[in-house]
Subunit: 244 residues, 2 copies
């Protein structure tokens, strides 16, 4: 299995994604939040790049089953139903709903990966589901870290490294420099994932604005069994593999 | 001292460079080659982004004292005097000359850093010269790794990590996630820098096209005492510090 790793969505080009599986990682917090929302019964998530796009799209949808979610600088956007905390996406809130989600970092990576064979949403909380699926059906994987404001983010790199390390345990792997770096960073942090998430720049920022509890949720490896996949611009749960 | 590290030139924006010192790292090979050329008596280097720009510029300069250097996919460009191997830039070739240099990865980083307070050219071969200068006069440093074709390159990240580690030895430092990652990658590779350069993707490629000897030259830490600086689009040697 050939595994490449990009540390920012800026690096995505056709060569990086075309004909390959893409795993998008945004640990803090949208990929974790998506996994929680779908686990808790949300029907689908429509990721959009801006508040304006979210507001425009919601006007064309049935308001009874649609929620607006997303964040700006980590905080809920004025007029939106939900922010970007996984704890907000509880069953009684999201069951049966379509959520239009505007986020700073993750959405861009999703949109730039449209030429991929398939696009998966990965984070620590659904690590095993991603590993199982990729191990079974893919030979070419590009991991795209959402990063923060176009820069390298440690929590995403360490999560990418865990994914690579687990894939390498059951497969023969050929790693790009980026993938080797991610795996090395994971190996240095594997005994302290939760602490690494607290100490990274984004973790420190989220603590400073009151989201300490989110960091704990986002660092719980394999707490959910779910594989969110992107299809035609929408994210829902993978129902069955195309190959066994 | 605040140190940020970008792993690709794509990440450069005004916030990353304005009012800061920028150290550009392209171990394989342009930053190493620039250090060799200036050490061997070359007067100045003019970096350009394309073969066309190099050819156009040379038409306006005195041919007796001008050389064209650069590479495409690692190899000398047709019609150019020099490729991108530091070993070609010997005293008898470059002394007193102006070299117009077209390269794939490094030049772009230089051009995108024009808003910086100063731009330094760093590599393993001139590490101490960079550390001494930055330690003495700078408080804000952004390290820009040239990478390879817009992607993360291990050799540049490890070199950035060595620079950070040495600066941290004599200064109180505040590191971005990228800087922490680079330092961690250096700490894992510090006893095997030459082997890391041989094993990384770019190193393997250069070996495959016959530049094995270059890898050895590029991995010799502190083999030169020189600080190339970019001023008004030209690179020459730093003559004296502005502050002692």
């Amino acid at each position: 299995m050939r595994i490449e790793t990009l540390f920012t969505p800026n690096e995505i080009d056709e060569a990086a994604v075309k004909g390959k599986a893409v795993a998008i990682i945004d640990v803090l917090r949208v990929c974790t939040t998506i996994a929680y929302a779908l686990s808790n019964g949300c029907e689908r998530i429509i990721p959009v790049e801006s508040v304006e796009a979210a507001t425009n799209l919601t006007a064309s949808l049935d308001k009874k089953v649609t929620l607006l979610g997303g964040e700006k600088e980590g905080k809920r956007i004025d007029g939106f139903n939900l922010g970007n905390s996984p704890l907000e996406y509880a069953p009684e809130v999201v069951k049966g709903k379509t959520i239009i989600m505007a986020t700073t970092n993750g959405t861009r990576a999703i949109w730039k990966s449209q030429a991929a064979k398939e696009v998966l949403i990965a984070s620590f909380v659904n690590m095993s589901s991603v590993v199982d699926h990729v191990s079974r059906i893919e030979d070419l994987l590009t991991i795209v870290c959402a990063g923060k404001q176009g820069r390298f983010a440690m929590e995403d790199a360490v999560c990418a490294g865990m994914l690579i390390d687990r894939l390498a345990a059951g497969n023969s792997v050929d790693l790009s420099d980026g993938a080797n770096a991610a795996r090395a960073l994971y190996s240095m942090n594997q005994k302290s994932v939760a602490q690494t998430i607290r100490d990274c720049e984004h973790g420190r920022y989220l603590r400073s604005i009151g989201f300490e509890n989110d960091l704990e949720v986002c660092s719980k490896v394999d707490s959910l069994k779910i594989l969110p996949v992107v299809r035609e611009g929408r994210i829902d749960r993978q129902k069955r593999s195309r190959k066994t």
